[in-house]
Symmetry: C2
Subunit: 571 residues, 2 copies
């Protein structure tokens, strides 16, 4: 099944959910004219369909390989990456000062969706580069920016995020990698990082590692970590990659999926010859990290959209083609396409609805990034509130939709050759990395609900309440409001005990709100508008009520969880 970029849907969501025309009316985003946006969406679609999608299979079956000389990408990847750089697809959202196009983050989101829809693992590489650009843009010195950003903005060099160590996963403050000052303004870096996506590869002449490390006498925990820029090759006097900087890839992980993306164990300073530069102030690593991480979270949520879209396209194509059994009660007993069997149709409509809901949620959050960039304080708060929803719920939906995709294929779905299984395997990491979905839920109840004394949460509820028309959505927003207000003042354990069901409820309420808006805007009688109304209707009639089933869990206390000692779980 060939991937087709969902350009009409992207354009519709950018217009109706993001409000792109409003953004384009500002001086900052004046370049995002209707023509430019169409050209970008269509061009990215053609590029991704033609150059990246055909490589998805070999990316999965052969995958990135570790060798003594470093990581070797599958055949075709270096060329396809070069074509991406040369096509300017990396520059969409990058700052104009450094050679980027300075277009809205929301438009960059759509382009990344297309690239990742074509090839999820491959698209992780540019996704990480975007994070490095943002960190340098906000926290780098002018010299650092001048040396590195032009090469990152084009994608000529790629970026990585180095947080995790074996003992420091969700607990990033437990990291032990050391940075020792050399007296010349540079630092010696020593330590091992794990789970470094695209930590090494053969597609770019340099890789810019952003590394969290501890400096001598730093306070314990997250307050003592600092961010360092550590290139794979040091820059020479002309700013070109020169001497090898003692960053070695020790191994890559044997993962269930996402094989096109090498997940590296990186060893820094094995030969005591790894140099780094501090980004931002010493001990300011956590703040810099969050700059990278917040938008990276949206981009991981976007992977949920990518996978859901690909899985849905595959399942729809199969169901339109596969003929099996007569329709129940049909007099002629002639076998029909499975798309016409009610339960298959229900699965497909669910896939469409959940994919569109995930996209609406992530694009909506991306639009808040642009509004915040324009100085809209309310958008900044809204973005903070919806970021954990977009990351966690969109990745949950990617998994759900990929699983239904297998089911629609029947036995063929379990055979690797159809590709349905690849989506399912690829999807399973997304609720884990970039902060597990449990961490997102903890962030929601622990930090986000209390923003501005609850006013940020209350504003979202008020917006949904003002618009909601479907009976289920009206009921759900009130249930979210009540649960959210209770959780805001609950004790820490009770907050966390109910955090995940609450996150799901609030996500579904937000998606229901956006889907209802989309349906109202889809007034035509063309195929797209008709399908949109059907998806939104299914979402509001079936998926929103399901979320009401979570009210009990979102209002449960931690007491039931601790009624038995931990050891008894092994009984």
């Amino acid at each position: 099944m060939a991937f087709a970029a969902p350009v009409a849907e992207q354009r519709f969501v950018l217009d109706q959910v993001v409000g792109l025309p409003e953004l384009a009316a500002t001086e900052m985003f004046a370049a995002a004219s209707e023509d430019v946006v169409d050209a970008v969406l269509e061009g990215a679609g053609q590029f991704a369909e033609g150059e990246w999608a055909p490589l998805a299979k070999v990316g999965d079956t052969i995958g990135a390989q570790w060798t003594v000389d470093g990581v070797v990408m599958p055949a075709g990847y270096p060329e396809a990456y070069r074509a991406y750089v040369e096509g300017g697809w990396g520059t969409i959202g990058a700052p104009e000062a450094w050679g980027g196009q300075g277009l809205p983050f929301a438009l960059q989101t759509a382009v990344l969706e297309t690239l990742g829809g074509a090839n999820t693992g491959f698209a992780l590489c540019p996704t990480l580069t975007v994070g490095a650009i943002e960190a340098l843009q906000h926290h780098g010195s002018p010299e650092q920016q001048a040396l590195y950003l032009p090469h990152l903005a084009t994608g000529e060099w790629t970026g990585t995020m180095n947080l995790t160590e074996p003992q420091a996963g969700s607990d990033v403050g437990a990291l032990r990698t050391m940075a020792t000052p050399r007296g010349d303004g540079r630092w010696s870096i020593k330590g091992t990082k794990i789970y470094i996506s695209f930590g090494d590869h053969d597609m770019a002449p340099n890789i810019v590692h952003l590394v969290l490390a501890r400096t001598p006498d730093a306070p314990p925990g997250t307050r003592g970590i600092s961010l360092f820029l550590v290139p794979k090759y040091r820059l020479d006097a002309d700013g070109k990659p020169g001497t090898f900087n003692d960053v070695r890839v020790v191994s890559i992980e044997h993962k269930m999926g996402l094989h096109a993306s090498p997940t590296c164990v990186l060893s820094f300073g094995d030969h005591d010859d790894c140099l780094g530069e501090l980004i931002g102030p010493e001990h300011g690593g956590l703040r810099a990290m969050f700059t990278m991480m917040n938008n990276a979270r949206l981009n991981v949520g976007l992977q949920g959209v990518q996978i859901a879209e690909g899985a849905t396209q595959g399942a729809v194509a199969y169901a339109l083609d596969r003929v099996q059994s007569a329709r129940a009660g049909s007099p002629d007993k002639a076998p029909i396409r499975i798309v016409d069997h009610p339960d298959v149709r229900r699965m497909l409509l669910r896939m469409k609805a959940q994919t569109q809901a995930a996209r609406a949620l992530v694009y909506y959050a991306a639009g808040q990034v642009d509004r915040a960039t324009l100085g809209d304080a309310a958008a900044k708060g809204r973005l903070e509130l919806v970021t954990p929803l977009a990351k966690a719920h969109a990745t949950d939906l990617g998994n759900e939709v990929a699983s239904i995709g297998i089911q629609v294929h029947g036995g063929m779905g379990y055979i690797e050759e159809t590709g349905a299984a690849r989506f399912f395997r690829d999807a399973r990491i997304t609720p884990i990395y970039e902060g597990t979905n449990g961490i997102q839920a903890a962030d929601l109840v622990g930090r986000k609900l209390g923003l501005e004394n609850g006013a940020v949460f209350a504003a979202l509820i008020a917006d949904i309440r003002a618009d909601a028309k479907a009976a289920g959505l009206v009921e759900l927003v009130e249930a979210c409001d009540a649960a959210g207000r209770r959780l805001a003042t609950a004790d820490a354990d009770d907050k966390l005990a109910a955090s995940y069901p609450f996150l799901t409820m609030l996500s579904v309420a937000t998606c229901g709100w956006l889907m209802e808006r989309e349906a109202a805007a889809a007034t035509g009688d063309d195929d797209f508008a008709t399908m949109k109304r059907a998806s939104a209707r299914f979402y509001l009639e079936q998926i929103v009520p399901e979320a009401l089933g979570l009210v009990a869990a979102a209002n449960a206390s931690a007491e039931a969880l601790y009624a038995v000692p931990a050891e008894m779980f092994a009984a």
Copy 2:
């Protein structure tokens, strides 16, 4: 993580849910004394832990391999299979007349759970043999029984089920494999079958294929299919495997999981030299197939239990060991085991509760098999009603629990070495084979709700209603009753449109009922009883209310599904 057979739990469920002591009080099952049951459960546990569990990893990583000489199992499998035969583990439920022990099906279910908990793919081999035994026992001639059953009952020879062809999946009536009479009472078999689990292997001297085929001038569809016994090697005058019977394994599938189980494409009669014997009457294949299939469906549901148990054990062990982050609000900020973080604890309690619920449901159904064997007519109806629930819902739960198992492991869960990913990959076929879960839902609303004019369904509702104490369960059983009565008279499309959500609701109501009974029986203050009450409480307080969220979907009509033409799904 070493697998440990859940012997105490099995014993408890056999006693409290199945009512094994009641069965043992009958003449037929008098052998199932308390001592024997203990010895079987413990012996099976030791055997599976010691001999089968250690092979699960190589079964996944190397897997069964296709060669020109047939399928070669991974190292250790033939020996471990022989040990299984010699230990008598295949004979538990097999008829005494043929060398079996004639113990209750429910006890055999527990043994199969243990074997499959240790090694899910491997245990599929005996599971299929059990199906072949049942088919021969009920439909074979005395000669066929005498020749084959003694070898199948011990597991010395293994059995297969050959239904599917490329164009005939869920629509089994579309099969084309031909059986032509030779005039000597035997038939020439010719055709290709796909998805044949353990269709070939090197662990037994013969394989007994049960093959659905069409005879000349047979009516179209399912009314024209007949069942044939087709051995891999024909029996010589002494009843020993002799001449090769022209059954060739053409390839094995490259699947996402369950690699220890070779999924074969079998070609019958490539050289026009494949002989088969009719089992039962000509055109009676469907009835014979259902004999195999009904209990096979329970055994696939049991795979959900196996996988859920294994995944839960792995996640609990990891969470008790992995230290990460301080408890929220803790003054000393000392990192704790992740089992003590509320959201992790919630995931583990959910895993425990869903695993126990799946086991209760499948064992309950297995108990009805024994009661039906004893001549209890009500049990026969109850069995028919709960079979689709056990197959579909228990496999859905296996998938859910395996997915949570990955999440508990965090990044480690995505790395193949931990084993969490294996459960997740293995689980995904179970909602598909042996009748997709959508087919189960169709069976529920299309055939089972109407059994005895609805009296069978009404009796289950009445039983749950009479016992239900938890408020959510009380509400859920009424919702099931109302939805079920509506569906019984709905038109075909409307029935099917709501079938899957209804199946889930009714399954959760049944599980909730059984879990409530289990909790009431777990009166001790030992670890087991304490954990049981906590799991049941979580089930009733959080999972039962979730199912109430499906009421809207279970009452939706098909109209919304067909509001757009099929082609628009590709828009």
